[in-house]
């Protein structure tokens, strides 16, 4: 448990340091994700170290978005004045993006025989 948490935090820390240091627009945790994936592929034994902590975090992933989401309260006046345009844009665009992504995935997978 302790070593698993340490490994996650260390990967994030290296990711943050590289992202800031090199002035990349990629967020530190995304670089940390890439680093941990490389480590796991090189040394599969690390799965036993980090697996249980990762499973706990990912099975409660929705919870982690709640504090940021409550930030909606700060923009209620703007959301009220342009509410229709914003709601319309989000509904149409989210549905369109879901459909376009999934159908392209399926079509190209069939094309390349994957």
């Amino acid at each position: 448990m302790l070593n698993g948490v340490l490994l996650l935090l260390a990967c994030q820390l290296v990711g943050e340091a590289v992202a800031r240091g090199a002035g990349l627009s990629v967020p530190g945790p995304v670089l940390g994700l890439a680093l941990l994936a490389i480590l796991l592929l090189r040394r599969p034994a690390l799965h036993a170290t980090v697996g249980p902590v990762a499973a706990t975090l990912l099975s409660n992933l929705s919870l982690l978005f709640v504090p940021a989401a409550v930030g909606v309260v700060q923009l209620l006046p703007l959301l009220a004045s342009e509410g229709l345009a914003i709601a319309g844009a989000i509904l149409v665009s989210t549905a369109a993006s879901l459909v376009a992504t999934a159908l392209t995935f399926r079509a190209v997978a069939r094309l390349v025989g994957a």
Partner: protein
């Protein structure tokens, strides 16, 4: 306890991080239990329910968001390590991922362009202000990348942060019915679309359904962050030249 005592206690608790940390976990635990009892119905999204409950409580107690966030930040902090943790299912499914690399890259490019164009075009048709249009362009990608893009193209990063959350909840609610309507049964394609269209909140929903869907959703969220950071400024520039 007399009324004065209750008031004093409330004044103390209201500003302590413990109260709002506990309230966040309690609201989510209740929302999650409610969704479980409703057979994991997508409309009863736990983020949506928990946020609605907390917004009402903050409004009723006149608590500023900054006070709330002092407590809730401990949960918020875990988003970083959780993002890193996405590497675990990814590494475990590496063969599956390698095999589907070409379909993923094609799908993320199409999904990113469709998200940017349909969001800005719909808002424009419905009379949104230019600042709102530019803030909407990167709304499908994860918050830190979306805010950086908004800054770069002249949108409002704080507004983008909220639009990102609203998009995430919308995607998490929509993904199951939309995929069922399309007759898509492959959890790689379903999950990947959830991650591309609705980043981490869509990914959380995908993990709730199936681990393979969650893994591909995590890839969709990471790839779309990279692609949109390149495409959004290009498309905005093109649009400004045409108008």
């Amino acid at each position: 306890m007399e009324l004065d005592g209750v008031v004093t206690l409330w004044v103390y608790l209201r500003t302590s991080p413990l109260l709002w940390l506990t309230a966040t976990l309690a609201a989510y635990a209740l929302a999650d239990e409610l969704q479980r009892r409703l057979g994991r119905h997508p409309l009863a999204n736990p983020v949506l329910l928990a946020v609605a409950a907390l917004v009402l409580v903050l409004a009723a107690t006149r608590t500023p968001y900054a006070t709330y966030f002092d407590g809730a930040q401990f949960v918020h902090f875990l988003l970083g390590p959780a993002t890193v943790a996405l590497a675990v299912p990814l590494a475990a499914k590496m063969n599956d991922v390698r095999r589907l690399l070409v379909p993923m890259i094609a799908a993320v490019v199409v999904g990113s362009i469709v998200a940017i164009i349909t969001a800005t075009a719909t808002a424009w048709a419905l009379g949104a202000s230019p600042a709102t249009l530019l803030s909407l362009a990167p709304k499908s990608v994860t918050t830190p990348i979306a805010m950086a893009i908004a800054q770069q193209i002249g949108g409002t990063p704080a507004l983008t942060a909220v639009l990102v959350i609203l998009t995430g909840i919308t995607g998490a609610v929509m993904v199951t019915p939309v995929m069922n309507a399309l007759g898509l049964t492959d959890y790689a394609a379903r999950g990947f679309a959830a991650g591309v269209a609705s980043h981490g909140i869509g990914t959380a929903r995908a993990f709730q359904v199936n681990e393979r869907a969650g893994t591909f959703a995590g890839l969709g969220l990471a790839l779309n962050g990279l692609i949109t950071a390149v495409l959004a400024p290009l498309l905005v520039h093109l649009w400004q030249r045409l108008m």
